[in-house]
Assembly symmetry: C2
Homo-oligomer: 367 residues x 2
């Protein structure tokens, strides 16, 4: 209790490192190939106990999701489009030879968990409770093979605005020395290995004074990928604003903020196009004013303006005033924080573990 108040105070002051504190409880479900999923339980979030031979420690058999529960002020907290996270969790799980969940039952469990943790949803402006489903292979065998057991747990981390620096925009460095994802690979799934490989290059970029990496496909084509851990969007000038975002070619995470912007844009008079886009095209567009704005989109920071892109020692600045990003952020925030119902906002609701879930077999198919 004292702990929660301290966390909330630090969020209100903008002083909590994002993701550094989790709530006292987690949702937990075990899976075995023979018995399927156990009923979800809400348990203390202090410790996991696993065999040191568990596959997750050796072979990166881990997938995760990230979504937010927002305070509703006049009712239970609400989750933003959890159905899309559940679908992506299942897609990632299938590719990593981990068990999938039944979407309906896992939705009930998520809503029930957030209901049980409602007091952990911070109420200060711009804040939310970040929800982190994590699915890991737990077989205590060090051969490289499918896992006959798995653990799915869901953490909750109260948080404020992701970037303490505010909305000044990020300075990106584009350097094809390190490539995040590749055709035929797993860049479009939310699996641990995709993130481990970004940490040292990101630190190196930060040590050189940049905020994030603009990931490129390779040294030759230099197709634009993601921005740090966000999807990239570029606004082209024209009679009406026109956004280009990299198409989902297997190297791009299908972000839920990205999808929501695609869904919302037409109603805002913005054209949006999913296609290949190259670094050379972006730099040229920034120089000649064809591209007036650029931003990253993601669950944590929602919309992050891009201030500049540095490639081969030359920094090219984004010149516009960021109005499209601001409009989209306001539109999304109105959905997140409104008191009105919205089909994308799913309210937390109590669940009964005894009746909502039964132990049952789940078949696992491989990608």
């Amino acid at each position: 209790m004292a702990q929660r108040k301290e966390i909330f105070a630090r969020i209100a002051q903008g002083k909590l490192e994002w993701g550094s504190r989790i709530s006292d409880k987690m949702l937990s479900m075990n899976w075995t190939r023979s018995a399927g999923w156990t009923a979800p339980r809400i348990v203390p979030s202090d410790k996991l106990t696993l065999s040191p031979a568990a596959m997750v420690f050796h072979y990166g058999m881990a997938v995760f999701e990230g979504l937010k529960a927002y305070p509703s002020h006049s009712g239970p907290p609400r989750l933003f489009r959890p159905d899309l996270n559940i679908a992506r969790l299942n897609a990632s799980a299938k590719r990593m030879a981990l068990p999938t969940v039944d979407p309906t039952t896992f939705m009930s469990a998520l809503r029930g968990f957030v209901h049980a943790q409602a007091e952990w949803v911070p109420q200060s402006p711009g804040s939310s409770l970040y929800i982190r489903p994590t699915l890991i292979g737990t077989d205590p065998k060090i051969g490289v093979r499918h896992s006959d057991s798995a653990l799915l747990y869901v953490l909750a981390a109260p948080g404020g605005s992701f970037f303490s620096s505010g909305y000044d925009g990020v300075r990106l460095v584009a350097d094809p020395t390190f490539v995040r994802s590749w055709p035929g690979g797993v860049g479009h799934y939310k699996t641990g290995g995709n993130y481990a490989l970004t940490i040292a290059p990101a630190k190196q970029a930060q040590d050189r004074g940049f905020d994030q990496i603009l990931w490129l496909s390779d040294k030759k084509e230099r197709k634009v990928g993601e921005v740090g851990m966000m999807n990239a969007m570029f606004v082209f000038d024209g009679p009406s604003p026109h956004i280009v975002t990299p198409r989902l070619d297997g190297t791009i995470l299908p972000g839920i903020t990205r999808q929501s912007i695609i869904d919302l844009a037409p109603g805002l008079g913005i054209e949006i196009e999913e296609r290949d886009i190259w670094l050379d095209e972006v730099l040229q567009g920034l120089r000649d004013g064809t591209i007036t704005e650029a931003f990253g989109t993601g669950t944590a920071a929602v919309i992050t303006p891009i201030r500049s892109i540095t490639y081969d020692g030359v920094e090219t600045f984004v010149k516009g005033n960021g109005e499209i990003g601001k409009l989209l952020r306001k539109t999304l925030n109105d959905i997140f924080y409104s008191k009105q119902p919205h089909p994308w906002m799913i309210p937390a609701a109590p669940f009964d573990t005894k009746t909502s879930f039964s132990e049952r077999k789940v078949s696992v198919s491989y990608a």
Copy 2:
């Protein structure tokens, strides 16, 4: 004790699933950015207790190694080229923003651990004690960032011959739908994420009747990568045998068996060349008899003959009698199991945790 005897009996009968049982103890060292490494301790191997927010569960911050301790019959067990594993562990750790170890002190710890676990080294022909160093990021924070804490532990798994099917050779399928590694990626490091992505495709290949996957670079060039989890080698006919193995271009794990064959080949009158090799070249060579033999190399199975490669629905067989692979296997086994000293075989030796290690700061640099 009873447990160990049961495991040894199953190994002798060829009935133990590889990697399915670990010994009762492990070597364990903790690292924090502020205090560096703790002294290594030998502790029970039954459970690890970590925060559910530990980075290894979310972002694949895990690297590992694999090496074998062989029975020496007249002295302490001996490790095969552990210096190369330690060097590779450090290379992997650096790329994954994890702390590196001091090679000399970690060598002492490894030798000490194997000495303490000598009774777990099986004595039946072809068997050994597989040693698995594992290094994981343990910070209990769900932001994607470097870890300020890590755990390095070493497991021991008694094992017999890796493939219970013996030496009949493996049937490979080459299918560029799934690509294991890519230029600018991390395929040359031993990190968990490289393995997770192979499990579903490998299962799919097995369901289609194949033993392993021949990994290719892409759909267009079809450069040959690894064989399952082994390095690939192709023997070309000529006045003297000539092996071609893919060069270390960043997509190929620098295997220690691979390196040892490169080191041994000249002394056996075999020429060996590290260069790019393409699937089309391999299939053509198999058809016209230029390529007389093909095999995979790795720590677990040492040398695994390739029986056939299926691509685009056509199975192409390897016609030769596998004599080069047999010669190399015999040469390596003579080193592993000989009673004679060999510079590559490092005997286990007792160590004193109190004096061999002191708590000290280790600086971490990023790739």
